[in-house]
């Protein structure tokens, strides 16, 4: 036993000790401060990002419309062929009636330019759906063209010299009269989500891009989920532990870090080149995204399977379960929440991938919503890319609005993943 004759005593009231204690507390405080400042900086940057996006994009969530009287006369529209009627003339006259002082052809064309180019088609579709309206005067609300939309939202500065402005004084005066008459309204821009892409910003929407993204993610999920889970389970449960499987593991981890543009080049060469699949098709986009999501799902599966405690396996084995019964009946169900969380996160990443989709051509100008996975389509991130390149003012706000829509989807998917994780988290 130790000799405890001399006992080491400490004078806890020693001022030097107190100073050291204070210094320790100060260090604690500094650490907290640095951590808090770092977190604050990150939050600030995030707030700036989201704030600037919302600020730039919120005008695009409303679209200026004008309500006018349209004379759908029998000489313009034939009863037996309502879709072939001269709706352009009808829309021109609707405005012409309100401004009888406009006489020159140039001015008349400018006046007609208040309405969106799509107004005539909206009117046509309305009459074709209700042929009984032929021969009557109807009231319809149609969107205005982009420059007037910007004017209504106050984004055109009237102070700049007329020559530098998009709209001259006369045009502005016409529009202000319409506003004074109460014909102008600014409802929610549902077209942003329901219309396909268009040359005209006031008619452009994300419907085609949303459908293309949906198809691409669906294909991605259908390919990467079963393959990823099976590979992950095999690697974790059945594969022998040798150098070959070590190499596979290293390669999978590397694949997860490969830049996405490389997958795009691969898809271009193999899917479009060798296999001859159609360009810009969501099927090809989905296959490319599946290649990128596969490593993420494999890694998530392995981690989730590793986390299942050996006691459950032992219990099942000791009752005489074969290996596949243990894996499929016990390990996989218990690992499923972790696997699903990893999958959703992987899909959320795939949702925002732009480079590979650009390389396979999903940034073409497509004005119809695709009906199948083999038709050309755009995806949400590539649509943003296209709009960002367009010169019209209306596209500038719509780009930011589309980014907000994309972010909303990302946040929603990640929130679902986090909710699932919390709900099914098991304390072993």
């Amino acid at each position: 036993m130790r000799d405890t004759g001399h006992i080491h005593r400490v004078d806890w009231t020693d001022p030097a000790l107190k100073r050291r204690l204070a210094a320790r507390h100060r260090s604690d405080g500094y650490l907290r401060l640095i951590g808090g400042a770092a977190l604050g900086a990150a939050c600030l940057v995030f707030a700036l990002l989201v704030g600037s996006l919302v600020y730039a994009g919120y005008p695009a969530f409303t679209q200026t419309h004008v309500t006018l009287q349209f004379d759908v006369t029998g000489d313009r529209v034939a009863l037996d062929a309502p879709d072939a009627g001269n709706y352009r003339a009808i829309t021109r006259d609707a405005l012409g009636q309100l401004f009888p002082e406009v006489t020159s052809r140039k001015d008349q064309r400018a006046l007609a330019g208040i309405l969106s180019n799509g107004a005539q088609y909206i009117l046509r579709d309305h009459i074709v759906a209700n042929p009984g309206l032929i021969g009557h005067t109807i009231t319809l609300t149609v969107p205005v063209s982009d420059p007037y939309d910007q004017l209504a939202k106050g984004l055109i500065d009237a102070a700049t010299p007329e020559a530098n402005r998009r709209l001259n004084d006369a045009e502005i005066a016409w529009f202000q009269k319409l506003q004074a008459d109460g014909a102008v309204s600014r409802p929610l821009n549902t077209g942003l989500l329901t219309n396909p892409d268009s040359r005209f910003p006031e008619l452009a929407g994300l419907a085609g891009a949303l459908r293309g993204t949906f198809y691409a993610l669906l294909v991605c999920f259908l390919i990467s989920f079963p393959v990823g889970i099976s590979a992950g389970i095999y690697l974790e449960e059945f594969a022998p532990k040798n150098r070959f499987t070590d190499m596979i593991e290293v390669n999978i981890n590397n694949l997860a870090a490969v830049p996405s543009v490389v997958f795009g080049l691969l898809a271009l060469a193999v899917f479009l080149g060798w296999f001859g699949l159609p360009r810009s098709a969501p099927l090809v986009g989905g296959m490319t995204l599946a290649l990128m999501t596969l490593p993420t799902i494999i890694i998530a599966t392995r981690v989730a399977v590793k986390a299942v405690p050996p006691s459950i396996r032992d219990a099942a084995l000791s009752l005489g379960a074969s290996q596949h019964q243990v894996v499929l009946g016990h390990v996989v169900p218990l690992a499923m929440p972790g696997i699903l969380t990893g999958t959703i996160i992987g899909l959320a990443q795939a949702l925002g991938e732009t480079a590979p989709l650009l390389l396979i051509g999903m940034n073409a100008f497509i004005t119809q919503v695709p009906d199948s996975m083999l038709e050309p389509a755009t995806a949400l991130p590539t649509q943003i890319f296209i709009w960002a390149d367009s010169p019209e003012r209306g596209f500038a706000t719509r780009t930011s609005a589309a980014i907000c829509v994309l972010l909303a989807f990302l946040v929603a998917m990640n929130a679902v993943a986090i909710y699932l994780r919390k709900r099914f988290e098991r304390q072993w």
């Binding site: 006691s311 459950i312 009752l319 005489g320 218990l334």
Partner: protein, 265 residues
């Protein structure tokens, strides 16, 4: 409780349930078990005692081939169950484990209902022809594990919601549902409080009328209370085996004597 004198020779007269000859176990290059020769009789409780790390659990796991699941573990020698080598090629380890059940140190019920826990073994081996048969098996197993009265009204509740002692009895019920001939118990009471321990020990005494039971235990008092035969292990070698009263009062080997008197633990 422990009819030591009367059953002394009856057990071995019936022929050993398990016979092991020259069993060695290696983990990679390190030898964990050296040359074990043992006879384990039927319808008796045999206790394995010894200090930590002496190889009792490793040897126990050889008896139902659970060591097969550890890649670096290598078992050599002969282990016979009713005269048949359990490591023969024709033997299916899964079926062996249905005949030789195991209960672990920490209760590990499946995160399923109590009914599904007990029914798992019969289900995967196809032991029940119909739902009614399965119901009967579940009820009998739970009754034999003296848990039926406590859970008969809540068979669909999760097994993990029971108390520690009840969970261990559930694990015992689960193990006996496949109608095993041998029950291996690896320190079944070490995670339980004294009252639950006493109940499980009572249960073991009842069960030995139908099964050969091998229990690994750190507690010598428990071994003395519960078992009819005891084997003392030390550093991977089985030092001595024999009737429990003899081992605890008059052992042949000095190492056994030292362990029992508490010279080392």
């Amino acid at each position: 409780m422990n009819q030591m004198v009367i059953e002394k020779d009856v057990a071995l007269q019936q022929g050993a349930k398990f016979t092991t000859r020259n069993v060695d176990v290696f983990y990679g290059d390190a030898q964990a078990i050296k040359s074990i020769d043992m006879d384990i009789p039927d319808k008796t409780v045999t206790a394995f005692i010894g200090p930590s790390g002496c190889g009792k659990s490793t040897f126990l796991r050889c008896l139902n081939r659970m060591n097969d699941t550890i890649p670096i573990c290598r078992v050599s020698g002969e282990i016979l169950l009713d005269g048949d080598d359990i490591y023969a090629r024709s033997v299916d380890p899964a079926q062996l484990r249905a005949r030789v059940g195991m209960v672990f140190q920490k209760p590990n019920p499946f995160p399923k209902s109590i009914y599904d826990n007990v029914a798992y073994g019969p289900r995967i081996h196809g032991l029940a022809a119909s739902k009614t048969d399965l119901d009967i098996i579940v009820e009998e197993s739970l009754a034999r594990a003296s848990l039926w009265n406590e859970v008969k009204d809540r068979l669909d509740q999760p097994g993990t919601g029971l108390s520690g002692g009840q969970q261990q009895r559930l694990c015992i019920a689960r193990a006996i549902a496949t109608a095993p001939e041998v029950l291996l118990m690896d320190e079944p009471c070490s995670a339980l409080d004294p009252i639950a321990t006493a109940r499980v020990e009572e249960l073991i005494d009842e069960l030995r009328q139908n099964y050969a039971i091998i229990i690994v235990t750190h507690s010598m008092q428990q071994a003395a209370r519960v078992s009819q035969r005891t084997a003392f292990f030390h550093l991977g070698v089985m030092v001595e085996q024999g009737e429990t009263p003899k081992i605890f009062t008059n052992p042949d080997d000095k190492r056994t004597q030292d362990y029992i008197t508490g010279r080392f633990g």
